[in-house]
């Protein structure tokens, strides 16, 4: 039986654990120490881990079930908005207009009453549940219609892209009640802890690391189960799977929904660490970038997806700071490079250098 934690995943989790313990410790060192880590870097690292989690979510549905979603940014953003709505409510009367009920942007728009869909978001648990439920429900309904009508391949990719674009336009509108193009920001605290306090930042960072590890284990458990084998079977020979009596659409909807909920969780963890969520997160290009992370790291490997996200996002931070005009070209070039030279991504490259150490799990070309 395939082990839940193989060598690759074990190494990754060990490294993640080490960083999660050492980074917060390094912030407590005196600033004269060479090993001191400035506290403002902690949320930045937390943000990277959110992206890694988002990549794992996409890999679960693309790498294993062959569902190339170009709309995962939407699930991420919805999770982020759910958390952002809670953080807005927590500001309470400390906003510019000092309205205890209404967030500033609503007062500014002249609204007098909280819209019904904001009800409940004053409670943290409610927002946390919504951050999973809203993306999950959207993916379920969307997937149910798409997979039942046998939409797959490039058509599915296009309609997921359309989905995120439609949400982008909707969230830009002021009358939608989500803060229009400014989005939600100026958050103060979460569960009573100030978001700018180093200890809160560390807690959020550790929580993100735990969520990443937990979701990787969950995704791994799904992929090594018999149902995971059915997903790969669907990817490789869909009609064969149907003629064995498996309802392919049920499996696709299942994995798409789980994946969307993971993306929502990533978004919910992202917002308190970044301090803002705006409609830009729905931009179609964001969703495409996630695909590049996964492709670069190695699709169908989970660990590769996480590493791909970390590598590309680090590269992006560096390039946008040093050569701001080059980033999009670099992203495009990277995509071409991966497609042509690294069909199994960085992890595939490692496997080739160190052959026969671990059997490549499920990598195949599209």
């Amino acid at each position: 039986m395939t082990r839940l934690i193989d060598l690759r995943l074990g190494l990754f989790l060990a490294a993640l654990f080490a960083v999660t313990v050492l980074a917060p410790l390094a912030t407590t060192l005196p600033s004269t120490s060479a090993l001191n880590l400035p506290s403002y870097l902690i949320p930045l690292m937390g943000k990277y881990l959110c992206y890694a989690l988002l990549a794992v979510a996409l890999d679960l549905c693309w790498g294993y079930a062959g569902i190339l979603s170009l709309g995962h940014g939407a699930f991420f953003a919805l999770g982020g908005y759910a958390m952002g709505m809670h953080l807005m409510r927590e500001i309470g009367a400390r906003g510019v207009y000092a309205n205890p009920e209404l967030p500033d942007f609503m007062v500014f728009l002249g609204w007098t009453e909280l819209p019904w869909f904001w009800y409940g978001f004053d409670m943290f648990w409610f927002a946390a549940v919504m951050a999973l439920l809203v993306p999950g429900l959207l993916a379920f309904v969307f997937g149910w219609f798409a997979f039942r009508s046998r939409v797959s391949g490039v058509y599915l990719s296009i309609i997921t892209q359309a989905l995120t674009f439609a949400l982008l336009l909707a969230f830009f509108r002021n009358d939608m009640g989500f803060g229009g193009n400014n989005g939600l920001t100026d958050f103060r605290d979460v569960l009573g802890f100030s978001l700018s306090a180093p200890s809160t930042r560390i807690a959020l960072f550790v929580l993100t690391a735990v969520a990443l590890a937990g979701c990787m284990l969950l995704a791994r458990a799904i992929t090594i189960s018999k149902a995971g084998k059915v997903l790969v079977a669907v990817r490789d020979a869909e009609s064969r799977t149907r003629f064995l009596g498996y309802r392919v659409e049920s499996y696709s909807v299942f994995v798409f929904t789980v994946s969307a909920m993971m993306a929502g969780l990533a978004g919910a963890l992202y917002v308190p660490q970044v301090g803002i969520i705006n409609p830009g997160e729905f931009a179609p290009a964001n969703s495409i970038e996630i695909v590049v992370w996964v492709a670069l790291g190695g699709r169908g490997t989970l660990v590769g997806a996480a590493i791909g996200a970390l590598v590309v996002v680090a590269l992006k931070s560096w390039l946008t700071a040093t050569f701001p005009d080059l980033w999009l070209f670099a992203l495009g070039g990277l995509f071409i490079l991966v497609t042509l030279a690294l069909p199994n991504g960085l992890l595939g490259l490692l496997d080739r250098l160190k052959p026969r150490q671990a059997k490549p799990a499920a990598e195949v070309p599209a």
Partner: protein, 255 residues
């Protein structure tokens, strides 16, 4: 004449195609096809390329919807209203013309996924491999003689071995009806005869419909033969009977 060569009376038929028609872009691939197959029967279907043999299987298994006609299963179920997975769950298994196995899975996992068991997402998600399941996998692997390749990735099998693996998957489903499309393609003469023996041994307990172009194979099956031509039945009877008919010789055997 053995009983296997006697046509099924319609009321006793396990599978009954009644006036089935299907056209693609105006071309009538299946044109008023009627056919009855009895429970436990072994039936060979032959006919020239494009006669509609594969399309007939597509219609039985829910892949293709007919424009007209019915496909009655066990006297009461109309298969044309059911999707592929539903038809499979009724106990109808199928081997494709082009061998189709799960290439990235091991030989063992291919069989395991095919084993008769609940097919819903959650039972499958929480399925734990049991000793009993391993025993059944071994049984089918022994039967198709791929036991020594148990852990091999299916992509690395030869064409003939893939044919065997797909037949093994079909057996593992324990279907009541097996639809087997050109099983002998890519097999050696010896393997072809083995396949014929295997199918004969299955028939009786299960119903088997085989499409094949290899006449030695069809002869070895020693069963009732249906000749399809332009989407309908041209002739039916023993191989000797149909192959003596002028019309069959003209459209198929004589070429």
């Amino acid at each position: 004449m053995s009983t296997a060569l006697i046509g099924a009376p319609l009321n006793a038929a396990q599978l009954y195609l009644d006036g089935v028609c299907r056209s693609f872009d105006g071309f009538k691939a299946i044109n008023g096809l009627s056919l009855a197959v009895a429970k436990g029967e072994l039936r060979a279907v032959i006919g020239p390329n494009g006669a509609g043999k594969t399309t007939m299987m597509d219609i039985i298994t829910g892949k293709t919807r007919p424009d007209e006609g019915k496909v009655i299963w066990n006297g009461d179920t109309d298969l044309t209203k059911i999707d592929e997975a539903g038809v499979a769950r009724l106990g109808i298994g199928r081997k494709f013309q082009k061998p189709t196995v799960f290439e990235t899975h091991s030989v063992e996992d291919n069989i395991r996924l095919a084993l008769k068991a609940p097919r819903g997402v959650f039972p499958v998600l929480f399925d734990r491999r049991s000793a009993e399941e391993n025993r059944r996998v071994t049984e089918y692997l022994d039967r198709i003689r791929l036991t020594h390749l148990r852990a091999e990735t299916a992509a690395n099998l030869s064409h003939g071995q893939k044919q065997w693996l797909e037949i093994g998957m079909l057996l593992a489903q324990e279907p009541q009806l097996l639809l087997v499309d050109e099983p002998a393609a890519g097999m050696t003469d010896a393997e072809t005869m083995e396949t014929a023996e295997l199918l004969k041994s299955i028939a009786g307990e299960r119903t088997v419909i085989v499409v094949e172009h290899d006449m030695d194979f069809v002869r070895a099956l020693n069963c009732r033969v249906t000749v399809l031509h332009q989407g309908s039945v041209l002739a039916e009877g023993s191989l000797d009977h149909v192959s003596a008919r002028d019309d069959v010789i003209e459209v198929y055997l004589g070429r």
